[in-house]
């Protein structure tokens, strides 16, 4: 193995400071969610009081349920569409309108959410669609399928093509070769893509605000309206629960991509 440049003290310090900066605020939030005191700043000992109050909050529970349903539905549709898009981009080179296609797939990754949300709402209004679960799901699918496409495409790109070609040389029809050779090989990236789509949907405030209707607020919309009124200990509790859920999702996703990297040479970047 090639000799790598040595770590300097400066490297270690910047890494440590950077990670501390990223993690300390979240850690503090989690600790304070177990604070018994009503005052967010006074430590009154450990307690589950705010979690109990949270589970008595009907509106918050309904919003969480709505968010979970939207996240599962949109992540599932986005995974199917995003995987198809990735296959078309990395295996079906040079089809008509490919530039427009890849442009449309990459644009939502950097587009400010206000623009995406606004434009989708205007479409739904023009179509006279009733706003609620389905409009939010469609909006989230549009955004997250692009992320799925990127993750799956990078996996397809690092895949050894001779495996597919060998299958076809041995008489496999292309679709069959894809289903029985390629698909199992990219499965971990697809799982990771679904997880990413799920957390992105669970996280989104702006696009959901534009595309939802009265009476169907998602969790971030509820949290946002509470946060604007000031800090409340219940919010610490719900945030901790969301962080816990996302942590579980990350563990599963990283196991999936570990599986993926043990099969191939490199894992998907996300």
């Amino acid at each position: 193995m090639r000799k790598r440049a040595r770590l300097s003290r400066f490297n270690i310090a910047s890494l440590a400071l950077g990670l501390a900066f990223l993690y300390l605020p979240i850690l503090i939030l989690v600790i304070y969610s177990f604070n018994a005191s009503r005052l967010v700043t006074v430590w009154g000992g450990w307690s589950l009081r705010w979690y109990r109050e949270l589970f008595g909050d009907r509106a918050m529970i309904e919003a969480a349920w709505m968010s979970l349903r939207v996240a599962v539905a949109s992540a599932s549709i986005a995974t199917v569409l995003g995987t198809l898009a990735a296959v078309a981009l990395s295996r079906g080179e040079g089809f008509r309108g490919r530039t427009l296609f890849s442009g449309m797939l990459y644009a939502p990754l950097v587009m400010p959410e206000v623009i995406t949300g606004l434009s989708l709402l205007l479409l739904f209004v023009a179509l006279n669609a009733e706003r609620g679960f389905w409009t939010v799901t469609i909006a989230h699918t549009t955004l997250t399928m692009c992320f799925v496409a990127v993750v799956v495409q990078s996996r397809l790109g690092s895949l050894d093509r001779s495996l597919e070609e060998a299958a076809m040389d041995l008489g496999c029809a292309p679709v069959r070769a894809f289903l029985s050779v390629t698909l199992p090989l990219i499965a971990p990236a697809i799982v990771a893509g679904w997880m990413l789509a799920f957390t992105l949907s669970l996280d989104d405030l702006v696009i959901a605000s534009f595309t939802t209707g009265p009476g169907s607020a998602t969790l971030p919309i509820r949290i946002y309206s509470e946060v604007r009124l000031g800090v409340k200990p219940e919010i610490n509790a719900i945030c901790t629960l969301v962080i816990g859920l996302i942590a579980i999702v990350i563990v599963i996703a990283s196991l999936a991509s570990k599986l993926s990297s043990s099969q191939g040479e490199s894992a998907a970047p996300l």
Binding site: R6, L22, T41, L105, E113, A149, M168
Partner: protein, 303 residues
Amino acid sequence: MSARRIFTRPARFAAIAPYLWMALFFLVPFGFVLKISLSQTAIAQPPYEPVFDLTAGWAAIKAAFGALSIDNFKLLVSDDLYVFAYVRSLTVAITATAILLLIGYPIAYGMARLPRRWQAVAMVLVIVPFWTSFLIRIYAWINILQHDGLLNQILLGLHLVSRPVVWLSTDSAMYLGIVYSYLPFMILPLYATLAKMEPALEEAAADLGAPPGAVFWRVTFPLSLPGVGAGVLLCFIPIVGEFVIPDLLAGSNSLMIGQTLWLEFFTNKDWPVASAAAIILLVVLLAPLLLYERVQRRQLEER
């Protein structure tokens, strides 16, 4: 015919469903934004006119087309409120991106120098906050920065200040929030280019007698420019349109364009003006994207 060619055709068919989806839910909506940006505000449902009625026949549609005007755009360019909002958005985005680059570069550099095994761990550690809800991360900072929050308690406890400092609703808090939220977006592309870089190049420069500073500025940094470009773009564009962070952390005296658009849409219910503002924002953002693409293509051709 090689197997590779046989595979191409079915793979192209895979594009149909996602293509139609993106055309319908990404491209077509911009047509509506454009059309409504040329309409007038009305007290009606929907709150703009003219409304195209495709069943009313060709003459009615032609009349509706005639009723379109660029008044909203004239309003946006002449109204100080909007001009300031655009200028402020660009200023905030440029400043925040510069800070992100300054903070993110050393972190990415440190990561790239870790032993292989630890690089993977460090990458997961940087990605995890990106997966965690950004609303929650902003909220975590509100906890710390508020009047009787942890930061003021620590400062008071250490006798560094005599009374609580106002942190919330200031530009510093907003920059802190933006830098905090976008840091992973800056670190990851930087790390990707720095990790791929041949360490022998740096060693060779050092062996030939270049002091560490010169090695960095004349070898490492120029080679990492593609990562710098990607990171800057990945942060700059969404920050220009940022809504939530300035809304929760900055003061209310000067708004960014994302907030102005939001207010115009939800509070003033002036959809045509909000649409026109979105179109201008889109044009402002497309410019750096196209520029980046051109630079990249030229570099590819040079290779």
